[in-house]
Protein backbone atom coordinates (compact mmCIF):
# COMPACT_ATOMS: atom_id res chain seq x y z
CA UNK A 1 0.00 0.00 0.00
CA UNK A 2 1.30 3.42 -0.92
CA UNK A 3 0.33 5.87 1.76
CA UNK A 4 -1.35 9.03 0.43
CA UNK A 5 -2.72 10.58 3.60
CA UNK A 6 -1.73 14.07 4.67
CA UNK A 7 -2.56 15.50 8.05
CA UNK A 8 -4.78 18.37 7.04
CA UNK A 9 -5.84 20.77 4.34
CA UNK A 10 -2.74 22.96 4.88
CA UNK A 11 -0.43 20.10 3.97
CA UNK A 12 -2.75 19.05 1.17
CA UNK A 13 -2.45 22.45 -0.50
CA UNK A 14 1.32 22.80 -0.14
CA UNK A 15 2.90 24.00 -3.36
CA UNK A 16 -0.05 25.95 -4.69
CA UNK A 17 1.32 29.22 -6.04
CA UNK A 18 0.18 32.39 -7.76
CA UNK A 19 -0.59 31.94 -11.43
CA UNK A 20 -1.29 28.21 -11.27
CA UNK A 21 -4.03 26.35 -13.14
CA UNK A 22 -6.44 24.43 -10.93
CA UNK A 23 -9.12 21.87 -11.67
CA UNK A 24 -11.96 21.86 -9.13
CA UNK A 25 -14.67 19.21 -8.98
CA UNK A 26 -18.36 19.78 -8.36
CA UNK A 27 -21.58 20.66 -10.15
CA UNK A 28 -23.13 23.80 -8.79
CA UNK A 29 -22.44 23.50 -5.07
CA UNK A 30 -22.85 19.71 -5.17
CA UNK A 31 -19.63 17.77 -4.54
CA UNK A 32 -17.32 20.78 -4.37
CA UNK A 33 -14.01 20.60 -2.46
CA UNK A 34 -15.15 22.95 0.30
CA UNK A 35 -12.06 22.55 2.48
CA UNK A 36 -9.60 23.17 -0.35
CA UNK A 37 -11.47 26.27 -1.52
CA UNK A 38 -11.41 27.68 2.02
CA UNK A 39 -7.66 27.02 2.23
CA UNK A 40 -7.00 28.64 -1.17
CA UNK A 41 -8.79 31.70 0.15
CA UNK A 42 -6.71 31.68 3.34
CA UNK A 43 -3.48 31.29 1.35
CA UNK A 44 -4.59 34.22 -0.81
CA UNK A 45 -2.89 32.80 -3.90
CA UNK A 46 -3.78 35.01 -6.83
CA UNK A 47 -3.83 35.14 -10.61
CA UNK A 48 -5.33 31.65 -10.70
CA UNK A 49 -6.84 29.91 -13.68
CA UNK A 50 -9.73 27.84 -12.34
CA UNK A 51 -11.39 25.11 -14.35
CA UNK A 52 -14.72 24.02 -12.91
CA UNK A 53 -18.17 23.44 -14.35
CA UNK A 54 -19.63 26.40 -12.45
CA UNK A 55 -18.35 29.36 -10.51
CA UNK A 56 -20.25 28.82 -7.28
CA UNK A 57 -22.67 31.40 -5.90
CA UNK A 58 -21.80 34.88 -4.64
CA UNK A 59 -20.82 33.76 -1.15
CA UNK A 60 -19.96 30.06 -1.49
CA UNK A 61 -17.90 27.71 -3.59
CA UNK A 62 -15.63 29.40 -6.12
CA UNK A 63 -17.63 32.58 -5.55
CA UNK A 64 -15.44 32.99 -2.43
CA UNK A 65 -12.30 33.25 -4.58
CA UNK A 66 -14.04 35.60 -7.02
CA UNK A 67 -14.97 37.91 -4.14
CA UNK A 68 -11.30 38.19 -3.16
CA UNK A 69 -10.21 38.61 -6.82
CA UNK A 70 -7.94 35.57 -6.71
CA UNK A 71 -9.18 34.22 -10.03
CA UNK A 72 -7.77 35.70 -13.22
CA UNK A 73 -9.26 33.24 -15.67
CA UNK A 74 -12.29 31.01 -15.30
CA UNK A 75 -13.06 28.07 -17.56
CA UNK A 76 -16.61 26.79 -17.01
CA UNK A 77 -19.75 25.69 -18.83
CA UNK A 78 -22.47 27.49 -16.89
CA UNK A 79 -22.21 30.49 -14.61
CA UNK A 80 -25.82 31.63 -14.38
CA UNK A 81 -26.04 31.49 -10.60
CA UNK A 82 -23.37 34.03 -9.77
CA UNK A 83 -24.13 37.73 -10.11
CA UNK A 84 -20.61 38.83 -9.09
CA UNK A 85 -19.17 36.54 -11.75
CA UNK A 86 -21.39 38.04 -14.43
CA UNK A 87 -20.40 41.53 -13.31
CA UNK A 88 -16.64 40.78 -13.40
CA UNK A 89 -17.01 39.09 -16.76
CA UNK A 90 -19.04 41.80 -18.47
CA UNK A 91 -16.72 44.51 -17.10
CA UNK A 92 -13.66 42.64 -18.39
CA UNK A 93 -12.03 42.17 -14.96
CA UNK A 94 -12.22 38.42 -15.34
CA UNK A 95 -11.14 36.35 -18.33
CA UNK A 96 -13.74 33.74 -19.07
CA UNK A 97 -13.86 30.80 -21.41
CA UNK A 98 -17.26 29.17 -21.54
CA UNK A 99 -17.09 25.72 -23.06
CA UNK A 100 -19.62 22.92 -23.54
CA UNK A 101 -20.10 20.78 -20.46
CA UNK A 102 -19.34 17.50 -22.20
CA UNK A 103 -16.22 19.01 -23.71
CA UNK A 104 -15.13 20.17 -20.25
CA UNK A 105 -15.62 16.67 -18.87
CA UNK A 106 -13.82 15.04 -21.79
CA UNK A 107 -10.87 17.45 -21.61
CA UNK A 108 -10.43 16.33 -17.99
CA UNK A 109 -10.87 12.69 -18.95
CA UNK A 110 -8.35 13.10 -21.79
CA UNK A 111 -5.79 14.62 -19.41
CA UNK A 112 -6.32 11.73 -16.99
CA UNK A 113 -5.95 9.21 -19.80
CA UNK A 114 -2.94 10.63 -21.64
CA UNK A 115 -4.96 11.52 -24.75
CA UNK A 116 -3.67 14.91 -25.98
CA UNK A 117 -6.74 15.88 -28.01
CA UNK A 118 -10.00 14.57 -29.39
CA UNK A 119 -12.75 15.49 -31.85
CA UNK A 120 -16.26 16.30 -30.66
CA UNK A 121 -19.34 17.51 -32.56
CA UNK A 122 -20.26 19.89 -29.71
CA UNK A 123 -19.91 23.54 -30.61
CA UNK A 124 -19.32 23.11 -34.32
CA UNK A 125 -20.54 26.20 -36.19
CA UNK A 126 -20.62 28.28 -32.99
CA UNK A 127 -18.15 30.75 -31.50
CA UNK A 128 -16.79 27.92 -29.33
CA UNK A 129 -15.21 26.44 -32.47
CA UNK A 130 -13.61 29.68 -33.66
CA UNK A 131 -9.90 29.23 -34.43
CA UNK A 132 -10.03 25.49 -33.84
CA UNK A 133 -9.34 22.68 -36.27
CA UNK A 134 -12.45 21.05 -37.64
CA UNK A 135 -12.80 17.78 -39.48
CA UNK A 136 -15.53 15.65 -40.98
CA UNK A 137 -16.13 12.13 -39.76
CA UNK A 138 -19.00 10.02 -41.11
CA UNK A 139 -20.55 13.02 -42.80
CA UNK A 140 -20.63 15.15 -39.66
CA UNK A 141 -18.36 18.02 -38.66
CA UNK A 142 -16.30 17.90 -35.48
CA UNK A 143 -14.07 20.26 -33.50
CA UNK A 144 -10.61 19.40 -32.18
CA UNK A 145 -10.38 19.95 -28.42
CA UNK A 146 -7.29 19.51 -26.23
CA UNK A 147 -6.70 17.85 -22.88
CA UNK A 148 -6.36 20.25 -19.96
CA UNK A 149 -2.95 20.89 -18.47
CA UNK A 150 -3.27 21.77 -14.81
CA UNK A 151 -1.01 22.02 -11.77
CA UNK A 152 -3.47 20.89 -9.12
CA UNK A 153 -6.73 19.02 -9.16
CA UNK A 154 -9.00 19.41 -6.10
CA UNK A 155 -11.72 16.81 -5.79
CA UNK A 156 -14.24 15.81 -3.16
CA UNK A 157 -15.38 12.25 -2.49
CA UNK A 158 -17.69 10.66 0.03
CA UNK A 159 -15.35 8.00 1.37
CA UNK A 160 -11.69 7.37 0.80
CA UNK A 161 -8.93 5.27 2.24
CA UNK A 162 -5.34 5.98 3.19
CA UNK A 163 -4.20 4.58 -0.18
CA UNK A 164 -6.21 7.26 -2.00
CA UNK A 165 -9.01 5.01 -3.24
CA UNK A 166 -12.25 6.96 -3.61
CA UNK A 167 -16.01 6.35 -3.50
CA UNK A 168 -18.47 9.07 -4.48
CA UNK A 169 -22.09 9.54 -3.48
CA UNK A 170 -25.11 10.46 -5.59
CA UNK A 171 -24.73 13.29 -8.05
CA UNK A 172 -21.84 14.66 -5.98
CA UNK A 173 -19.75 12.42 -8.23
CA UNK A 174 -20.05 14.64 -11.36
CA UNK A 175 -16.65 15.95 -12.52
CA UNK A 176 -14.68 14.69 -9.53
CA UNK A 177 -13.66 11.28 -10.94
CA UNK A 178 -12.73 12.81 -14.32
CA UNK A 179 -10.44 15.34 -12.65
CA UNK A 180 -8.51 12.74 -10.64
CA UNK A 181 -5.08 12.31 -12.19
CA UNK A 182 -5.80 15.10 -14.68
CA UNK A 183 -3.30 17.49 -13.05
CA UNK A 184 0.28 17.20 -11.78
CA UNK A 185 -1.00 16.74 -8.23
CA UNK A 186 -4.47 15.52 -7.31
CA UNK A 187 -5.74 16.38 -3.84
CA UNK A 188 -8.79 14.48 -2.64
CA UNK A 189 -10.82 15.52 0.38
CA UNK A 190 -13.31 13.04 1.78
CA UNK A 191 -16.07 13.08 4.34
CA UNK A 192 -14.82 9.84 5.83
CA UNK A 193 -11.25 8.58 5.65
CA UNK A 194 -10.74 4.91 6.51
CA UNK A 195 -7.68 2.63 6.68
CA UNK A 196 -6.68 0.96 3.42
CA UNK A 197 -8.25 -2.49 3.25
CA UNK A 198 -11.52 -1.33 4.74
CA UNK A 199 -13.28 -0.45 1.50
CA UNK A 200 -14.55 -3.21 -0.78
CA UNK A 201 -12.30 -3.12 -3.90
CA UNK A 202 -15.41 -3.87 -6.00
CA UNK A 203 -17.00 -0.62 -4.92
CA UNK A 204 -14.12 1.77 -5.58
CA UNK A 205 -14.84 4.41 -8.23
CA UNK A 206 -11.34 5.88 -8.51
CA UNK A 207 -8.22 3.85 -7.67
CA UNK A 208 -5.62 5.59 -5.52
CA UNK A 209 -3.09 5.68 -8.35
CA UNK A 210 -4.85 8.83 -9.59
CA UNK A 211 -4.57 10.56 -6.20
CA UNK A 212 -1.41 12.03 -4.62
CA UNK A 213 -2.82 13.47 -1.39
CA UNK A 214 -5.91 12.61 0.61
CA UNK A 215 -7.34 14.02 3.82
CA UNK A 216 -10.56 13.99 5.78
CA UNK A 217 -12.32 17.32 5.39
CA UNK A 218 -13.99 19.17 8.23
CA UNK A 219 -17.24 21.08 8.72
CA UNK A 220 -18.93 20.28 5.44
CA UNK A 221 -21.72 22.74 4.85
CA UNK A 222 -23.03 21.01 1.70
CA UNK A 223 -25.23 23.93 0.87
CA UNK A 224 -28.28 23.27 -1.31
CA UNK A 225 -28.70 25.76 -4.16
CA UNK A 226 -32.35 25.10 -5.03
CA UNK A 227 -34.51 23.53 -2.34
CA UNK A 228 -37.33 21.84 -4.22
CA UNK A 229 -39.80 19.59 -2.45
CA UNK A 230 -43.32 18.25 -2.88
CA UNK A 231 -46.14 17.74 -0.44
CA UNK A 232 -47.41 14.29 0.39
CA UNK A 233 -50.92 14.83 -1.00
CA UNK A 234 -50.41 16.17 -4.47
CA UNK A 235 -47.28 17.20 -6.24
CA UNK A 236 -45.51 16.29 -9.37
CA UNK A 237 -44.93 12.58 -9.57
Amino acid sequence: MIYKTVGDVHQACQGVQDGMTLLLGGFGLCGIPENAIAELKRLNVTNLTCISNNAGVDDFGLGLLLQSRQINTMIASYVGENAEFERQMLSGELNVALIPQGTLAQRCQAAQSGIPAFYTPAGYGTEVAEGKETREFNGKMHVLEHAFKADFSFVKAWKGDTAGNLIFKGTARNFNPNMCGAATITVAEVEELVPAGTLDPNQIHIPGIFVQRIFQGAHYEKRIEQQTTRTRDHGPR
Binding site: F27, G28, L29, C30, G31, N53, A76, S77, Y78, V79, G80, E81, E86, M89, L90, V96, L98, I99, P100, Q101, G102, T103, L104, A105, Q106, C108, T120, P121, A122, G123, Y124, G125, T126, E127, V128, W158, F168, K169, G170, T171, A172, R173, N174, F175, N176, N178, K222, R223, I224, E225, Q226, Q227, T228, T229, R230, T231, R232, G235, P236, R237
Partner: protein, 218 residues
Amino acid sequence: MGLDKYQIAQRIAQEVKDGYYVNLGIGIPTLVANFVREDIDVEFQSENGILGMGPFPFEGEQDADLINAGKQTITALPGAAFFDSAMSFSMIRGRHVDLTILGAMEVAQNGDIANWKIPGKMVKGMGGAMDLVASAERIIVAMTHTNKAGDSKLLKACSLPLTGVGCVKKIVTDLAVLEIRDDVFHLLERAPGVSVAEIQAATQGELVVSGTIPEMTL
Protein backbone atom coordinates in the same frame (compact mmCIF):
# COMPACT_ATOMS: atom_id res chain seq x y z
CA MET B 1 -54.97 33.04 -25.82
CA GLY B 2 -52.20 30.55 -26.28
CA LEU B 3 -50.90 27.87 -23.96
CA ASP B 4 -49.39 28.45 -20.56
CA LYS B 5 -46.08 26.78 -19.71
CA TYR B 6 -47.79 23.75 -18.19
CA GLN B 7 -49.83 23.22 -21.33
CA ILE B 8 -46.70 23.51 -23.50
CA ALA B 9 -45.15 20.81 -21.31
CA GLN B 10 -48.33 18.75 -21.56
CA ARG B 11 -48.27 18.88 -25.38
CA ILE B 12 -44.57 17.97 -25.51
CA ALA B 13 -45.19 15.01 -23.20
CA GLN B 14 -47.21 13.46 -26.05
CA GLU B 15 -43.92 13.17 -27.99
CA VAL B 16 -42.35 11.00 -25.29
CA LYS B 17 -42.63 7.35 -26.31
CA ASP B 18 -42.37 4.06 -24.46
CA GLY B 19 -38.75 3.03 -23.86
CA TYR B 20 -37.26 6.49 -24.33
CA TYR B 21 -34.32 7.84 -22.37
CA VAL B 22 -35.03 11.56 -22.17
CA ASN B 23 -32.92 14.57 -21.22
CA LEU B 24 -34.89 17.57 -19.98
CA GLY B 25 -33.46 21.07 -19.99
CA ILE B 26 -34.08 23.77 -17.40
CA GLY B 27 -37.42 25.63 -17.33
CA ILE B 28 -40.50 24.43 -19.25
CA PRO B 29 -38.77 21.15 -20.27
CA THR B 30 -38.46 20.15 -16.61
CA LEU B 31 -42.26 20.28 -16.34
CA VAL B 32 -42.68 17.67 -19.08
CA ALA B 33 -41.95 14.87 -16.59
CA ASN B 34 -45.22 15.68 -14.82
CA PHE B 35 -47.33 14.93 -17.89
CA VAL B 36 -45.83 11.75 -19.31
CA ARG B 37 -48.37 8.94 -19.56
CA GLU B 38 -48.15 6.60 -16.60
CA ASP B 39 -48.57 3.46 -18.71
CA ILE B 40 -45.27 3.86 -20.56
CA ASP B 41 -41.71 3.29 -19.35
CA VAL B 42 -39.48 6.32 -19.65
CA GLU B 43 -36.23 7.20 -17.90
CA PHE B 44 -35.07 10.75 -17.36
CA GLN B 45 -31.39 11.54 -17.62
CA SER B 46 -29.92 14.59 -15.97
CA GLU B 47 -26.49 15.44 -17.35
CA ASN B 48 -24.96 16.11 -13.95
CA GLY B 49 -25.00 12.35 -13.45
CA ILE B 50 -28.24 10.47 -12.91
CA LEU B 51 -30.39 8.18 -14.99
CA GLY B 52 -33.74 7.34 -13.45
CA MET B 53 -34.42 10.75 -11.99
CA GLY B 54 -37.50 10.91 -9.80
CA PRO B 55 -39.70 13.74 -8.51
CA PHE B 56 -38.76 16.35 -5.93
CA PRO B 57 -38.26 14.84 -2.46
CA PHE B 58 -40.82 15.18 0.30
CA GLU B 59 -40.09 18.07 2.58
CA GLY B 60 -37.33 17.18 5.02
CA GLU B 61 -35.93 14.46 2.76
CA GLN B 62 -33.73 16.71 0.60
CA ASP B 63 -30.21 15.43 0.04
CA ALA B 64 -27.47 17.92 -0.91
CA ASP B 65 -25.77 15.09 -2.81
CA LEU B 66 -28.81 14.47 -5.02
CA ILE B 67 -29.68 17.25 -7.48
CA ASN B 68 -30.61 17.67 -11.14
CA ALA B 69 -28.91 19.80 -13.78
CA GLY B 70 -30.97 22.78 -12.61
CA LYS B 71 -29.39 22.33 -9.14
CA GLN B 72 -32.80 21.38 -7.71
CA THR B 73 -33.08 18.66 -5.10
CA ILE B 74 -34.55 15.49 -6.60
CA THR B 75 -34.99 11.79 -5.85
CA ALA B 76 -33.71 8.65 -7.54
CA LEU B 77 -36.28 6.10 -8.70
CA PRO B 78 -35.83 2.33 -8.27
CA GLY B 79 -33.36 1.23 -10.94
CA ALA B 80 -31.61 4.59 -11.06
CA ALA B 81 -27.88 4.90 -11.65
CA PHE B 82 -25.29 7.57 -10.86
CA PHE B 83 -22.27 8.26 -13.04
CA ASP B 84 -19.55 10.82 -13.69
CA SER B 85 -19.75 13.72 -16.13
CA ALA B 86 -17.64 12.10 -18.84
CA MET B 87 -19.89 9.04 -18.86
CA SER B 88 -22.96 11.28 -18.84
CA PHE B 89 -21.84 12.90 -22.07
CA SER B 90 -20.90 9.53 -23.52
CA MET B 91 -24.61 8.79 -23.21
CA ILE B 92 -25.42 12.07 -24.94
CA ARG B 93 -22.78 12.26 -27.68
CA GLY B 94 -22.97 8.51 -28.20
CA ARG B 95 -26.68 8.91 -29.05
CA HIS B 96 -27.88 6.63 -26.29
CA VAL B 97 -30.30 9.31 -25.12
CA ASP B 98 -33.39 9.18 -27.36
CA LEU B 99 -34.93 12.60 -26.88
CA THR B 100 -33.69 16.01 -25.83
CA ILE B 101 -36.13 18.74 -24.79
CA LEU B 102 -34.72 22.20 -24.23
CA GLY B 103 -35.58 25.87 -24.23
CA ALA B 104 -34.37 28.52 -26.65
CA MET B 105 -34.15 32.27 -27.17
CA GLU B 106 -34.20 31.93 -30.96
CA VAL B 107 -34.70 29.19 -33.55
CA ALA B 108 -34.01 29.73 -37.24
CA GLN B 109 -35.83 28.11 -40.15
CA ASN B 110 -32.70 26.12 -41.02
CA GLY B 111 -32.71 24.50 -37.55
CA ASP B 112 -30.09 26.72 -35.91
CA ILE B 113 -30.69 27.39 -32.21
CA ALA B 114 -29.45 30.13 -29.85
CA ASN B 115 -29.96 29.88 -26.11
CA TRP B 116 -26.83 30.68 -24.13
CA LYS B 117 -25.72 34.26 -24.51
CA ILE B 118 -26.86 37.81 -25.22
CA PRO B 119 -23.65 39.71 -26.02
CA GLY B 120 -22.92 42.49 -23.56
CA LYS B 121 -26.00 41.69 -21.49
CA MET B 122 -26.38 38.19 -20.26
CA VAL B 123 -23.94 35.35 -20.14
CA LYS B 124 -25.09 32.21 -18.45
CA GLY B 125 -23.16 29.69 -20.48
CA MET B 126 -24.20 26.75 -22.57
CA GLY B 127 -23.93 24.07 -19.92
CA GLY B 128 -24.63 20.80 -21.71
CA ALA B 129 -26.79 22.34 -24.44
CA MET B 130 -24.11 22.39 -27.14
CA ASP B 131 -23.27 18.73 -26.58
CA LEU B 132 -26.97 17.83 -26.54
CA VAL B 133 -27.98 19.63 -29.72
CA ALA B 134 -24.88 18.54 -31.63
CA SER B 135 -25.60 14.87 -31.06
CA ALA B 136 -29.26 14.23 -30.28
CA GLU B 137 -31.35 12.53 -32.96
CA ARG B 138 -34.59 14.01 -31.66
CA ILE B 139 -34.63 17.54 -30.31
CA ILE B 140 -37.77 19.37 -29.28
CA VAL B 141 -37.58 23.04 -28.44
CA ALA B 142 -40.01 24.34 -25.83
CA MET B 143 -40.43 28.10 -25.83
CA THR B 144 -42.79 31.03 -26.19
CA HIS B 145 -43.44 32.06 -29.79
CA THR B 146 -42.37 35.65 -29.11
CA ASN B 147 -40.09 37.27 -26.53
CA LYS B 148 -41.13 39.72 -23.84
CA ALA B 149 -40.81 42.61 -26.29
CA GLY B 150 -43.24 40.81 -28.60
CA ASP B 151 -40.61 39.95 -31.22
CA SER B 152 -40.74 36.60 -32.96
CA LYS B 153 -38.34 33.90 -31.75
CA LEU B 154 -38.85 31.88 -34.95
CA LEU B 155 -36.57 33.62 -37.39
CA LYS B 156 -35.12 33.51 -40.88
CA ALA B 157 -31.69 33.52 -39.22
CA CYS B 158 -30.62 33.68 -35.57
CA SER B 159 -29.19 37.00 -34.42
CA LEU B 160 -27.74 35.71 -31.14
CA PRO B 161 -24.61 33.53 -30.81
CA LEU B 162 -25.51 30.00 -31.82
CA THR B 163 -25.73 26.94 -29.61
CA GLY B 164 -25.91 24.55 -32.54
CA VAL B 165 -26.38 24.55 -36.31
CA GLY B 166 -29.14 22.87 -38.28
CA CYS B 167 -30.21 20.64 -35.42
CA VAL B 168 -33.79 21.56 -34.41
CA LYS B 169 -36.59 19.66 -36.11
CA LYS B 170 -39.57 20.26 -33.85
CA ILE B 171 -40.78 23.25 -31.83
CA VAL B 172 -43.69 23.55 -29.42
CA THR B 173 -44.66 27.08 -28.46
CA ASP B 174 -47.59 28.71 -26.69
CA LEU B 175 -49.19 29.17 -30.12
CA ALA B 176 -48.26 26.19 -32.25
CA VAL B 177 -46.47 22.94 -32.99
CA LEU B 178 -44.02 23.38 -35.85
CA GLU B 179 -41.60 21.22 -37.75
CA ILE B 180 -38.48 22.26 -39.64
CA ARG B 181 -38.11 20.62 -43.06
CA ASP B 182 -36.23 21.82 -46.13
CA ASP B 183 -35.03 24.92 -44.27
CA VAL B 184 -38.51 26.31 -43.56
CA PHE B 185 -41.00 26.12 -40.70
CA HIS B 186 -44.05 23.94 -41.30
CA LEU B 187 -47.13 24.55 -39.19
CA LEU B 188 -48.48 21.28 -37.80
CA GLU B 189 -50.94 22.26 -35.06
CA ARG B 190 -52.53 25.38 -33.58
CA ALA B 191 -53.07 26.04 -29.90
CA PRO B 192 -56.79 26.00 -29.04
CA GLY B 193 -58.40 29.26 -30.11
CA VAL B 194 -55.32 30.54 -31.96
CA SER B 195 -55.72 31.28 -35.67
CA VAL B 196 -53.28 30.53 -38.47
CA ALA B 197 -53.10 34.27 -39.14
CA GLU B 198 -52.01 34.94 -35.54
CA ILE B 199 -49.27 32.32 -35.84
CA GLN B 200 -48.14 33.75 -39.17
CA ALA B 201 -47.99 37.22 -37.66
CA ALA B 202 -45.84 35.95 -34.79
CA THR B 203 -43.44 34.04 -37.05
CA GLN B 204 -40.69 36.05 -38.73
CA GLY B 205 -39.17 33.09 -40.58
CA GLU B 206 -40.76 31.46 -43.60
CA LEU B 207 -43.83 29.49 -42.53
CA VAL B 208 -45.46 26.88 -44.73
CA VAL B 209 -49.16 26.29 -44.04
CA SER B 210 -50.55 23.45 -46.09
CA GLY B 211 -54.18 22.41 -45.86
CA THR B 212 -56.28 22.77 -42.75
CA ILE B 213 -54.23 23.04 -39.57
CA PRO B 214 -55.78 21.10 -36.70
CA GLU B 215 -56.03 22.35 -33.14
CA MET B 216 -53.78 20.45 -30.76
CA THR B 217 -55.41 18.09 -28.28
CA LEU B 218 -54.26 18.33 -24.69
